[in-house]
């Protein structure tokens, strides 16, 4: 199994999952292409470039440096400011499990487990967690602090978007909430494996953001029960990647040294489910958009629904002008489309 996924990736190093990629994966659980490529650790950004459909997924240096400055400020002087914004004891211990390379992942995970198992009151930075995704155990590139307090664990996320008068950009808050849900789920899995009560991990997570137009931090508590249940449901819906990979013909690989035509040929073996939302979430989306041109799904979910769920634009127009006989299940949609076309033509004539 592992070897088949390794074959799919080719000789390149595997890309690791993080909370963001899992959130994106569950954002479109029907997309087999993304599930397989992510499980195999294929660098989708490079793949998209190689086949001539580069996307734009960079991050501005200015945003990065502000984010880093904010985090550094909170963690300066042994996390003095972070402790005060969390209203934690000044004596609360802080340990950073740090970043490291691929080969020490399992040892870092073991240290995480040991720390979390014994923690009563501590801030544990960069714990390395694992999560079952589509039948695979993946390491999560962590960007959280676990806050252990009176036997409870709480996820703390530091984000650099501003909260102005108690309100922040809703897209950013919901992205942070989904990411936090990934961490909570992974922490609960961990406690369960340790034979502890998973509900010790709180469904209330703490978001630490700059307040108003300054860098002064503010902590807000988010209840992420809804995100948790969505995430759980969608993770369970993700088809087993093992089966998908096994069903691929021998020799299919996304080795980036291959010619672009070979790579697009290989992509053709795994079905994608493109939606316009992919453009902001998936590095391969520009290619998938091109591939799905002419489909109603490419116009957006609400358009597709309003068109009665008919697959292609050509079919929609043929049903609307009556040049195509609807199937039994299309008859209702076809009647609506015919009326719509008649009304449109009448109003425009």
């Amino acid at each position: 199994m592992e070897t088949r996924l390794d074959q799919l990736r080719g000789p390149a190093r595997a890309k690791r999952h993080n909370a963001r990629t899992i959130a994106a994966l569950t954002g479109n659980p029907g997309c087999d292409r993304r599930a397989v490529l992510d499980a195999a650790g294929v660098d989708k950004l490079k793949l998209a470039e190689r086949i001539g459909f580069p996307g734009e997924f960079g991050q501005s240096r200015f945003a990065l440096s502000r984010g880093n400055a904010f985090e550094a400020m909170l963690k300066a002087d042994d996390c003095e400011l972070l402790r005060s914004v969390l209203q934690a004891d000044a004596g609360l211990g802080y340990s950073d499990l740090g970043a490291d390379s691929d080969d020490t992942l399992s040892s870092r995970h073991r240290r995480t487990v040991a720390l979390l198992a014994s923690a009563r009151a501590a801030l544990i930075d960069h714990p390395l967690l694992t999560l079952e995704v589509a039948g695979q155990t993946v390491y999560l590139e962590p960007d959280l602090i676990a806050y252990a307090n009176r036997g409870r664990l709480q996820v703390v996320e530091i984000k650099s978007f501003a909260i102005v008068d108690g309100q922040a950009e809703s897209a950013k808050v919901s992205a942070a909430a989904v990411q936090a849900a990934v961490y909570v789920l992974a922490l609960r899995d961990l406690l369960e494996r340790l034979g502890q009560d998973p509900s010790l991990v709180s469904h209330e997570v703490v978001l630490v953001c700059p307040e108003n137009f300054s860098l002064r931090p503010a902590a807000v508590v988010l209840d992420i029960r809804k995100q948790l249940s969505t995430l759980r449901r969608q993770l369970s819906r993700l088809a087993s990647v093992g089966e998908l990979a096994a069903a691929l013909p021998d020799g299919v690989t996304f080795d980036l040294t291959l010619e672009p035509e070979q790579l697009t040929g290989a992509l053709g073996h795994i079905a994608a489910r493109y939606a316009p939302e992919c453009l902001s979430a998936c590095e391969l989306s520009v290619y998938c958009r091109d591939e799905s041109s002419g489909s109603t799904a490419a116009l957006g979910r609400s358009v597709r629904e309003s068109l009665g769920g008919i697959e292609t634009v050509g079919e929609v127009l043929a049903l609307a002008d009556g040049s195509r006989e609807p199937t039994e299940e299309q008859s209702e949609a076809a009647a609506l489309l015919r009326t719509a076309l008649r009304l449109r033509s009448e109003a425009l004539s």
Binding site: E56, L336, L341, L343
Partner: protein, 479 residues
């Protein structure tokens, strides 16, 4: 999305050209609009980077913050923006007209014209709202003084951003939404958010739109790649070329904004657009008067009573806007016909002189029979309106299925004069083609709200009075 608009998108995708979804223009387009294209600094909390602004397409004024992280530079930018925007807004506070109120017993005055600001996209409106928030409470003296124009700008920006939430208001408009109201492209609405691509669909077609996607952004967010490759080195070197680079970045969007106006001007204006602009002028007049009387800046958050009243105004504006658009535009009304909330038919019988004398005094209640081939989903007793006679009500007496459609018997009231004989032409005659809908322009009375000082404890009690910035502890700016 309505099926009609979705169908237009499908047609656009198939033909490679945007398709009209309106036959008239549904917004007021000013003779002298101001275009404002703000750019924000990535990562910062609403720190301005640059703006291109002005009322003359040939003479855009470029405003640049050479060090966006510097507080003084940011407020110098705000002061400069105030120099552009405030005089423009105030230039409309000269001529007034008298408007009768209370059935002509009294008059009030309102300005004969009002400003109109255009930004490229809703992100631009959000930027202005937050910029208004970050400037309107600033103190012009004390420890951290800002130029006097800055808090004034903040209050104007807050006013404009608040009107942008009112459906049908034309004081602050976005090019992306204005185009999306009148044309459907063959791409998703997510992709329409990029002005360059959306306009290219309308002007040239699908291929040009794909090309335009790669072009410069319309702000307020900059492209991360541009930040890293171009902007960061310029900042590091303190390069004097910065303003020219930003001007080059903004100019394509500037040109597009004026081309958008050209497109919109080609459409005939809807009949009811002027009445909505009247409301805009009312709002503008009221705000200008508040400013002139030295009223306090808008609060950070509305109190309970103000919030409830505002919500109701927004709901009323939304329903008025959707009804008016349908009455102004047969293509919009077609959406209601498709949904069964409107139908078109031909008058087959008319009794224009019918008198109902069952009550205390006789009243004129003509009846007409309308035959339609469309699906009729209204019950007897429902009141219908015809866009051609908006002040007349047509009560459904009966709906009878006949071969090829329905016969709808209607009883008319209103809009026929005060006599017992209908004014000529006020009752539809046999043979006339008629549109009937459940939508109505009828006035909706507002709810009664308590005085803010009477806010019940369930709603947080009376709001705290405004504290002027002199006594307010200065919001610490970290940089």
């Amino acid at each position: 999305m309505s099926t009609l608009t979705a169908l237009a998108r499908a047609q656009a995708a198939a033909t490679g050209h945007a398709q009209p979804i309106a036959t008239v223009r549904h917004l007021h387009l000013h003779d002298h609009p101001m275009v404002l294209i703000p750019l924000a600094m990535a990562g910062e909390a609403n720190a301005p980077l640059a703006a291109l602004a002005g009322t003359d397409p040939e003479k855009p004024r470029l405003l640049v913050v050479t060090n966006p992280r510097n507080r003084d530079d940011r407020f110098a930018f705000a002061a400069e923006l105030a120099e552009v925007l405030v005089p423009y807004a105030e230039s409309f506070t000269t001529d007034t007209e008298a408007v009768p109120v209370d059935r002509g017993k009294d008059v009030r005055h309102r300005y004969t014209d009002a400003p109109q600001i255009w930004v490229p996209n809703p992100g631009g409106v959000d930027f202005l709202r937050l910029f208004g928030r970050s400037t309107r409470f600033r103190s012009v003296d004390g420890d951290n003084p800002v130029p006097p124009a800055v808090p004034l700008l903040g209050r104007w920006l807050t006013f404009f951003a608040a009107t942008a939430e009112v459906p049908g208001s034309s004081l602050l408009l976005t090019a992306v939404q204005a185009l999306g109201l009148h044309w459907a492209t063959g791409q998703s609405s997510a992709e329409d958010a990029q002005l360059g691509a959306q306009l290219a669909w309308i002007e040239e077609g699908a291929a040009a739109a794909r090309e335009a996607e790669k072009g410069p952004v319309a702000g307020p967010a900059t492209d991360p790649d541009f930040d890293n490759r171009v902007l960061a080195p310029l900042f590091e070197r303190g390069d004097p070329a910065l303003p020219e680079v930003l001007r080059e970045l903004l100019t394509p969007t500037w040109d597009r904004m004026w081309r958008v106006f050209g497109r919109l001007r080609d459409l005939p204006v809807g009949d009811r657009v002027a009445s909505r602009w009247d409301s805009d002028r009312d709002a503008f007049t009221a705000f200008a008067q508040t400013l002139a009387e030295g009223g306090p800046p808008q609060p950070r958050r509305d109190g309970a009573v103000a919030a409830a009243a505002r919500l109701q105004r927004l709901e009323n504006a939304a329903s008025r806007y959707s009804v008016q658009r349908a009455f102004d535009d047969p293509l919009v009304l077609a959406e209601y016909r498709l949904a069964g909330a409107a139908f078109a038919g031909v008058v087959t019988l008319a009794a224009p002189d019918r008198i109902d004398d069952s009550g205390r005094r006789p009243v004129l209640r003509p009846r007409i029979m309308v035959q339609t081939a469309e699906e009729v989903r209204v019950e007897p007793g429902t009141s219908l309106t015809s866009p051609a006679r908006p002040s007349q009500k047509a009560r459904v007496v009966s709906v009878t299925r006949v071969p090829g459609g329905y016969d709808v018997l209607l009883e008319l009231s209103g809009g026929m004069g005060r006599k017992l004989v209908a004014e000529p032409g006020s009752v539809p005659a046999a043979g006339e083609r008629l549109m009937l809908t459940t939508l109505s322009e009828a006035y909706r009375p507002g709810g009664a709200f308590p005085d803010p000082t009477e806010t019940p404890w369930t709603h947080g009690g009376p709001p705290e009075p405004y504290v002027p910035p002199e006594i307010l502890s200065v919001e610490a700016d970290q940089q």
